[in-house]
């Protein structure tokens, strides 16, 4: 008698459980897309925006699940930063990209294709340096 109630109940719970997952997935997909669009419309040159979108935007957007990453730098909020903060962040970007600290190793273990190529690293560094220089004028 007990089994008769338990089995459908468990099945029901399982379905709810699974459904909540797909729902979450859809939500986060949507977030990523909107974040991507805001980013491109920002003041990044197209070649830079492309790299940021693929290689950095999984964590460095204000909708990110990683508090640490989004606090450190959210690319969709770039325009909110003043020149001083931009300079600081640009200098950090050069450092972490050159040293290969970003994207982080743990992340790359899951997504090996997110690793920056030498070409991409150069593009980012050049852009960061030029942007900083432009503040001096």
């Amino acid at each position: 008698m007990k089994k008769l109630i338990l089995t459908p109940l468990l099945t029901f719970l399982l379905i709810v459980f699974l459904a909540s997952f797909t729902f979450q997935k859809q939500n986060s997909d949507k977030n990523e897309k909107t974040a991507g669009i805001t980013m491109v419309s920002n003041e990044f040159p197209e070649n830079v925006a492309k790299i940021l979108k693929v290689h950095c935007n999984d964590c460095h957007v204000s909708t990110s699940k990683s508090d640490k990453a989004k606090k450190k730098l959210s690319f969709d909020k770039w325009n909110d930063l003043n020149m001083l903060k931009k300079t600081g962040k640009l200098n950090d970007i050069i450092e972490v990209v050159k040293e290969g600290e970003m994207p982080p190793e743990k992340y790359l273990n899951h997504y090996p294709d997110k690793k920056l190529t030498e070409e991409q690293t150069k593009t980012l560094v050049k852009w960061a340096e030029e942007t900083m220089d432009s503040f001096k004028e």
Binding site: L84, G88, E95
Partner: protein, 157 residues
């Protein structure tokens, strides 16, 4: 059963005692090296005091160790924290940073203090005097911003 328990306890105790002979090198260097923040930049005394009390244990060449900081494995854990902190930012080595890195550090100081991420919560639990009031946080933030702007507006180095 009882014997085994006693045996384990003795082994642990011996291990603990032996551990005491292996201490990490202490962070007890000199603060005024001529390359430190205060020796070349004028920093207001109130800011100086705040930085010394709330940041210097991990971000300078001199740590004020608590008594239990002499006990291994706590000393090893503390040492790791200090090493990491100094790697990120060392006020004793401030003048050896290029200007852009100084700006990066000042922006980080601003953000970390604003977000309440620094000083670390675990550190504040033990060091009540390092807790920053809202006013003190504002003081540090506006100092960092002002100092950063000076560097930003400086003509090419």
């Amino acid at each position: 059963m009882k014997k085994a328990f006693r045996y384990i306890l003795i082994v642990l105790l011996v291990a603990f005692i032996i551990m005491q002979f292996f201490q990490p090198k202490k962070n007890l260097g000199i603060l005024s090296t001529g390359k430190d923040l205060f020796s070349q930049v004028y920093v207001d005394d109130s800011i100086k005091l705040l930085l010394e009390t709330s940041c210097f244990d991990c971000h300078s060449n001199h740590t004020n160790y608590p008594w239990y900081g002499q006990i291994s494995p706590i000393s090893i854990f503390l040492n790791k924290h200090v090493t990491e902190g100094k790697e990120k930012l060392n006020f004793t080595e401030w003048q050896s940073y290029p200007d852009k890195e100084k700006i990066s550090n000042l922006v980080d100081i601003y953000d970390e203090v604003e977000g309440g991420d620094m000083p670390l919560e675990s550190y504040l639990k033990i060091h009540k005097d390092a807790v920053l009031s809202e006013h003190e946080r504002d003081l540090i933030m506006s100092w960092a911003e002002k100092e950063g702007l000076v560097l930003l507006n400086k003509k090419e180095e």
